[in-house]
């Protein structure tokens, strides 16, 4: 397979571009997606290529334009709505939860909402408490939504294409921290499955379950641990709702130990949900207490050293796993 080097930003852009080329009904709208080129330069140049009809700048009114996206989707369009970052998504929460997620149910199956909402997410650029959120668990809490987390370049490239085929509203989390990161992906990379978690690395000693910003950090830690003789199986959840549990339950049955790594705050995070399912379904496979490394419960501070201390780093993963292995 031929591989090409690509930034996460470029992977996102290629995904959007392919979606626009594939289907006339698809259009992108969001704050600064057009003339500014996207707040993170993801959609730079698309306005020039596709025109203002399909690349729509909108005013700063999250509630308004997310609502408009819902209406357009119900009326037969395929909107990609960009909420610049997850930090502003609360302004649109009413639209997302009370309308997008419930219309199908309230209308007795008559109205579905084929809408994709993209959000830049996560910590790591010294943007302080209001601009550093990891709120995947909030959205994963809501029935009616499909919640995706693009923790790798291939998912950044391909999740959107599949999400646009979903009959129901999809929240797609992208990670601003990774935008400049270069990785190799297949030159013919395209649509990715959005139903299953993925084993990113095979291992026999312990199962590490993660998503988003945690994926590359975990793989890095797993490499280091491998040199110390510990083989970590790294699982990328990818789909936070509806969650694919088969993949990680099978892994835990093999390794008998599990660690969850995520940037989101500890209380009520994805880790809590993953653990509940492990205890419910494979309790008698466990040979060690479950452990989780999550965000420290503090509004994210501005100084870099405090910011870094707020979320698990690769080194924390290494030391936690060593402890779990009794070293």
């Amino acid at each position: 397979m031929e591989m090409v080097k690509m930034t996460y930003r470029e992977a996102l852009k290629q995904g959007i571009r392919e979606a626009l080329l594939n289907d006339e009904r698809v259009f992108l709208m969001g704050e600064d997606v057009g003339h500014y080129g996207g707040a993170f330069a993801v959609s730079k140049g698309l306005l020039q290529e596709f025109g203002a009809e399909r690349i729509m700048d909108v005013p700063l009114s999250e509630s308004g334009f997310v609502g408009a996206g819902i209406g357009a989707a119900m009326a037969g369009m395929k909107p990609i709505v960009e909420v610049m970052t997850v930090n502003f998504s609360l302004l649109a929460m009413d639209q997302i939860i009370n309308n997008a997620a419930t219309l199908l149910h309230m209308s007795g199956g008559q109205l579905n909402v084929p809408l994709v909402i993209r959000m830049g997410c996560g910590i790591g650029r010294q943007l302080a408490a209001q601009h550093s959120h990891s709120w995947e668990p909030y959205f994963a809490h809501v029935p009616g939504l499909v919640v995706l987390s693009a923790g790798t370049h291939e998912d950044a490239r391909g999740m959107l294409l599949t999400a646009l085929k979903s009959p129901d509203p999809v929240i797609l989390f992208e990670y601003t921290f990774m935008l400049n990161m270069e990785k190799e992906i297949a030159s013919d990379a395209g649509a990715m499955d959005i139903t299953k978690a993925k084993v990113r690395r095979d291992g026999k000693d312990i199962t590490l379950i993660t998503y988003g910003n945690g994926v590359y950090k975990s793989l890095e830690a797993a490499e280091e641990l491998s040199s110390q003789g510990i083989e970590v199986e790294v699982i990328d959840l990818r789909i936070l709702r509806p969650m694919d549990e088969e993949t990680f339950l099978a892994s835990v049955a093999k390794t008998h130990r599990a660690l969850v790594v995520e940037d989101a705050w500890r209380s009520g995070g994805m880790a809590a949900e993953v653990f509940s399912r492990i205890i419910e379904k494979v309790f008698f496979e466990l040979d060690a207490p479950l452990q989780r490394l999550c965000g420290v419960e503090v509004p994210i501070p501005y100084p870099r050293h405090l910011e870094e201390a707020s979320v698990p780093q690769s080194q924390d993963i290494v030391s936690t796993i060593r402890k779990m292995m009794g070293l």
Partner: protein
């Protein structure tokens, strides 16, 4: 001269491509003038000057992509020469945690009322009709884990074959399990030492220096000081050596540094002190700001850190951040020790044994206690002359121990 660098215009900007110079050498510039056009992932941005002066040199060619912080041009200040010190960015997150994370000690106490056993271990025990209440747990909080049950199952089969020595063997097995649990992760330490030292030997061109230092006055001073101290407060020569190394590093800061494709001199003097483990392997706790501590304080630190190092009861912060390392093998019987530099540090100081030797001083040969001090240096970072200055400084300090 003012260095004009590729500016950082956003936390997510890592580099920029110089598209066009707007000024040429000899041009006068003032604050706010546009010096160049730089292409970023967000598009073309005009780069402005914050100083006044005349363009001296343009260091970059158009079309070149460079990281933030790269010097692009030199500006000669106008008229008065203002001293513009560029203080490097204060937070350095670059220093990776090099140390081994040390596991917390687990309580060996067996729970009386309830047997702690993991769900998996319990299942296996029950499936094999094994009474797990007599098994010694080696897992977290002393819990019985799968491994323990498997071991017990194997032993339940084993002794029946050789009738004699059943009890003895069983005892031994338990002792062995305990030992395996309590002893530090020898293999892991070995692996870590192996990795660091191989990297050092592979990448660092070492130079080696040694110097004999007359310890008469230093030892006299120690004896005198210790005679007035209760046994708990007495000072070992090691504390004095560490202090003399710290003071010498103040004199020769080039060795208190890191090599990151250039010599980066560190502000704090944090001395890594090699503690050997009885079971083999080493642990290197770090004495922070050694130059600011008295000999007595250093001894207190040793009294605290050595037992904790040997029992693996250190915080990772206590193992990281060293800017130079001391190895102290002399007591092992060797005369001198030449260390391997621990990257990214640039020097390691080896303290040998103190031995009585004939030594000429002021034309008189006498018997003096002599210490062999060695220095292994990273030749990319410094030259032998710097190392030599350091050893001379150590000699000077050890001849004047009361001042340390």
């Amino acid at each position: 001269m003012i260095e004009f660098k590729m500016p950082s215009l956003g936390a997510d900007m890592e580099d920029g491509t110089l598209v066009e110079w707007r000024k040429k050498p000899g041009d006068q510039v003032k604050r706010g003038d546009i010096l160049a056009d730089v292409d970023t992932q967000k598009g073309l941005i005009e780069i402005e000057v914050f100083d006044e002066g005349v363009i001296d040199t343009l260091l970059l060619e158009e079309g070149v992509k460079v990281p933030v912080g790269t010097i692009m041009a030199i500006i000669r200040p106008l008229g008065e020469v203002t001293e513009e010190k560029d203080i490097p960015s204060a937070i350095s997150s670059e220093e990776p945690e090099k140390s081994e994370e040390v596991p917390a000690k687990t309580s060996e106490e067996k729970e009386e009322r309830r047997v702690k056993i993991t769900p998996l271990a319990k299942r296996i025990a029950l499936e094999n009709n094994l009474d797990y209440s007599v098994i010694n747990g080696t897992g977290p909080e002393g819990a019985i884990v799968k491994k323990d049950v498997e071991k017990a199952l194997a032993e339940a089969v084993g002794p029946s074959k050789e009738m004699g020595g059943f009890t003895e063997k069983a005892d031994e097995a338990i002792v062995e399990v305990k030992k395996e649990h309590k002893t530090p992760p020898i293999k892991a330490i070995r692996t870590a030492v192996a990795a660091a030292m191989s990297k050092s030997n592979r990448e660092i061109p070492h130079y080696y220096l040694e110097k004999k230092i007359d310890m008469t006055r230093a030892l006299e001073w120690l004896t005198e000081t210790n005679s007035g101290l209760p046994v708990q407060k007495r000072i070992l020569p090691a504390a004095l050596f560490i202090k003399s190394v710290a003071s010498s590093l103040v004199d020769v800061p080039e060795l208190n540094a890191e090599w990151e494709d250039e010599l980066v001199i560190k502000n704090e003097i944090n001395i890594g002190f090699v503690v050997s483990l009885r079971s083999g392997g080493i642990v290197v706790p770090s004495l922070k700001n050694a130059d600011l501590k008295s000999v007595g304080e250093i001894m207190e630190w040793l009294n605290d850190i050595i037992p904790r190092s040997r029992s693996f009861n250190l915080r990772s912060s206590e193992l990281s951040g060293s800017t130079v390392t001391i190895t102290n093998l002399g007591e092992g019987g060797a005369d001198k020790v030449f260390g391997i530099v621990y990257p990214p540090q640039v020097a390691i100081i080896g303290l040998g044994s103190v031995a009585e030797e004939p030594f000429a001083k002021k034309g008189m040969v006498g018997i003096h206690p002599m210490l062999y001090v060695t220095l292994s240096g990273d030749h990319r970072a410094t030259d032998g002359l710097v190392g030599s200055r350091f050893l001379a400084a150590m000699d000077k300090h050890l001849q004047n121990p009361q001042a340390l």
